[in-house]
Amino acid sequence: MAHLAHYREAHPMPFVITHWINLVAMILLIVTGFCIHFPFWPYFMGIARGVHVFCGFVLFINCIARVVMAFFVKSSPTGGTRVQVTDYKTWLPQADNRHQGIHWIRYYLFLKKDHPLSAKLGVPQKISYLAIPVLIIVMFYTGLALWNPTMNLGFFAAGTDLVGGLMSMRIIHYFMMYIFICFMLIHVYLANIEGISPTLLMFFHKEHGGLVYDPEKHAIVGEDDLKH
């Protein structure tokens, strides 16, 4: 057992909920989005459009709520500890991350044998997660530029003009969906390839014992088997 202990403090309940909403909304958006792009199941078209627009708003509002909560809710700065700090701090560069970016990449390319120490989020992980709210907001914008009730509003029409018309906007919306799909593939793969404990914690708040990390000393200081 080489991983850090998985404590609930890493992912407090509000974030478990927003993560669930993200998952459900994104899956529904992708499935209905494919159906709207080309009606593979003709009679599903009407439902697909309704669900797509609804989930688009849900995903956007959920994203804003999650970002706002980062300034009020506390979470652990690293794995293997029950200590908590205000969540937004775990999104900024932390001492635990410093100089570790290159080593994470080396680890995943099998050029480094041992597991890099890190904060709750590793360097490549932190950067890609930070891009997600930006992606969601841009995706929401491109979606509203294509949605008839909003497409003629100056704010959206200007964007459509800028990218060269509705066809270009559609293609951007379409490519961005694939960015989400690719992100999800990598995200699901990396979260589970070394064991499903992170998933059980994120979705069901199920804890799992492991090494204990001291966020003040930035080092592993022992082990907690959760008295199993």
Partner: protein
């Protein structure tokens, strides 16, 4: 004799041309709607038409110059094909078409002279209809008319016109003339005039060809309702808002089938005969703004979608960008997406996206085998004892590594 109904002068003119009062009023309603007014404004239009035509009969026609640039004459053809005698031909008679390469009976030097005279004598008081793309290529020599570059003809005629009507998608932004590689340097009238510093207002009427009723609507606005160009209700692209304000999809007769999820997947199929929605066949209705489904075509007989053909977006034209022409933006017409151009390679966005995603998925599978072989699937590899950087910079070490350290359970609440 007192009880006998009298026929107005105008009505006599109508019946002389075989047009019933009823079909004339129908046209007035259509013109009113096309001009962005309610159909209730039909009497107003009728009145304006009557006085104009009567005025015209007395020799006060509004002069119009119709110049063809790089055009296929399709817009002229469409306009000329209005069945005669037809109510719309009455409207034609509200203008004096002083110059038209196709429609004028005269030709050659005398026509050029007539044009020059109109420009000189009616300065600020005539309409210029420009059909086809403006060609800037090869120093303007890509198009020569009457021993002069086509661009010069446009410049001269546009400079003193009251308003320029860019008729057809080519005139709006180069149309398919502007499609890759655009060696002739095609662009739209509005952009060209802006470059030349000509401030004459431009009304953009796209379409391939433009529906003649749209031109009639603009002429009705300017000539009959005496609206100044600034009073016209135009979109941000300078197109009449009443005509180009909503998408083809918004007013499509097959829209009900779209809502029901009833689609045509193959030409000649039963679904097509049933009038189902053409969306899967690449219909550009949802992204093309024009009221085709309302005014129809060929004297209101039918239109593309009624005939079983998906909209190919011929009214898509951004006046400021020849690259954003409807052919470039919409081909291949029967696919839901346009092709993207990478050098000489044309490729569908879906192919790129699926290709990259497929490569990524395959890479993750291969990586997974690597993780399995290196024994990392059970909780990952063992942690480094000391950060690599810390090991090299012990004086500036981030972590405080001490084998004697123990978890502070009390502080952490374990």
């Amino acid at each position: 004799m007192e009880t006998e109904a009298t026929v107005s002068e105008f009505q006599q003119m109508l019946s002389a041309r075989g047009v019933s009062r009823r079909s004339f009023m129908k046209l007035c309603g259509a013109v009113a709607v096309a001009a962005g007014l309610s159909e209730l404004a039909a009497p107003r239009v009728a009145q304006a038409l009557e006085s104009s035509v009567i005025g015209a009969a007395k020799g006060k026609l509004y002069p119009v110059i119709w110049i063809e640039g790089a055009s296929c004459t399709g817009c002229t053809e469409a306009f000329a094909k209005l069945e005669a005698p037809d109510a719309a031909s009455i409207v034609l008679e509200m203008i004096s078409l002083n110059y038209s390469e196709t429609l004028s009976a005269a030709a050659g030097e005398s026509m050029e002279l007539a044009k020059e005279q109109t420009i000189k004598e009616c300065a600020g008081n005539y309409i210029l209809v420009y059909e086809g793309a403006v060609l800037e290529g090869w120093g303007g020599q890509a198009l020569r008319v009457a021993d002069k570059p086509g661009t010069e003809h446009l410049y001269e005629a546009a400079e003193s016109a009251a308003v320029v009507v860019a008729l057809g998608s080519c005139a709006v932004n180069g149309g398919w003339m502007g499609a890759h590689p655009n060696q002739a340097g095609a662009l739209g009238v509005q952009e060209y005039l802006k470059k030349q510093g000509v401030g004459t207002p431009v009304v953009n009427v796209p379409g391939c060809p433009a529906n003649p009723e749209w031109l009639v609507a603009v002429l009705a606005d300017v000539v009959l309702l005496s609206l100044a160009p600034s009073e016209l209700d135009l979109t941000s692209e300078g197109k009449p808002a009443g005509i180009f304000g909503q998408t083809v999809h918004d007013n499509c007769e097959r829209r009900g089938h779209f809502e029901n999820g009833e689609f045509v997947y193959e030409f000649g199929s039963k679904e097509e005969a049933l009038g189902y929605c053409l969306y899967p066949l690449g219909c550009r209705g949802p992204q093309t703004k024009a009221n085709c489904g309302v005014v129809l075509y060929n004297n209101r007989r039918s239109w593309c979608v009624q005939a079983g053909a998906p909209c190919i977006g011929c009214c898509e034209a951004n006046p400021n960008d020849p690259g954003h022409n409807w052919v470039e933006v919409n081909t291949p017409f029967y696919k839901r997406h346009r092709d993207l151009r990478i050098g000489d390679w044309m490729v569908q966005p879906g192919t790129i996206a699926l290709g990259i995603t497929g490569i990524l998925a395959a890479a993750l599978v291969v990586h997974g085998f690597g993780m399995k072989i290196t024994g990392r699937m059970d909780g990952g590899a063992d942690f480094e004892k000391v950060r690599s950087w810390d090991a090299k910079h012990p004086d500036k070490s981030i972590g405080k590594y001490d084998a004697a350290d123990v978890p502070n359970d009390k502080k952490e609440g374990r």
